[in-house]
Symmetry: C2
Subunit: 142 residues, 2 copies
């Protein structure tokens, strides 16, 4: 789909978006690609792309990790979210030791092909602290 | 809050989590820190942390960018999501040219203090293509 096709009149889109509650009027295209057609850009960041993990049902953001080409391929092939551990310098299938795995429901890449979004069914707590999500610390003021 | 306090019996938590639909039983602590108390770890990745942007109302993941310390400080201070543009090597307050800004509603950092989650009210489409979210390309098979 071309950029033009996705933007039914920039002015109209912007005006609609300015009305609170009308965000759903902003178009959201849905392209589909196979793994072999998708070319993630690993060069931008030293061979890694960030991967956001979101609970498929609750839409809670659970964690963010990094994938190298092998982790990405293994995630697609096995249906279990697999990262490249920057600290341990090794492939890391989430849950392989804790049992708290992340079963892929849907996989997305972004418009720049340099970020992954994995919608998952989490098994148990995602965070190593035992929390449901790694994001439990809120910044409440300046 | 200590790790122990956040994990009311690892076994119980894991068992509850094993039952489909019982993820809400997994504890989700909620800590609050001021900007000055929060110490984001920018060293892990050459001075940058990934920042996930999520629609506050719909919980849709809209985009992922990177922040350096100045971008993080400006985001907190102004309430408008600001990134470090890796390609342009400059601070970039989303919407400064397009008008499609991201007004912060809640800010979170993760358990390792190396990732930001910004819940926002988006103004207009977030993606430069005119799409609501940058994640519109689904990987559908291996």
């Amino acid at each position: 789909m071309s950029e033009q096709a996705m933007r039914p009149g920039a002015k109209g889109g912007t005006e609609a978006a300015g009305l609170p509650g009308n965000e759903s009027l902003i178009p959201q295209p849905h392209l589909r690609k196979s793994f072999s057609e998708a070319h993630l850009d690993f060069d931008k960041q030293g061979g890694l792309v960030p991967a956001v993990v979101q609970d498929h049902r609750t839409r809670e953001v659970l964690m963010v990790g990094f994938m190298n080409p092998e982790a990405w391929e293994k995630t697609v092939r096995t249906g279990l979210v697999t990262f490249w551990s920057r600290t341990r310098q090794t492939l890391w299938t989430k849950g392989e030791t804790s049992g708290n795995s992340l079963r892929v429901r849907r996989l997305w890449i972004d418009c720049d092909s340099d970020t992954v979004l994995a919608e998952v069914d989490p098994k148990g707590p995602t965070c190593h602290t035992g929390a449901r999500s790694c994001f439990f610390e809120e910044i409440v003021d300046a």
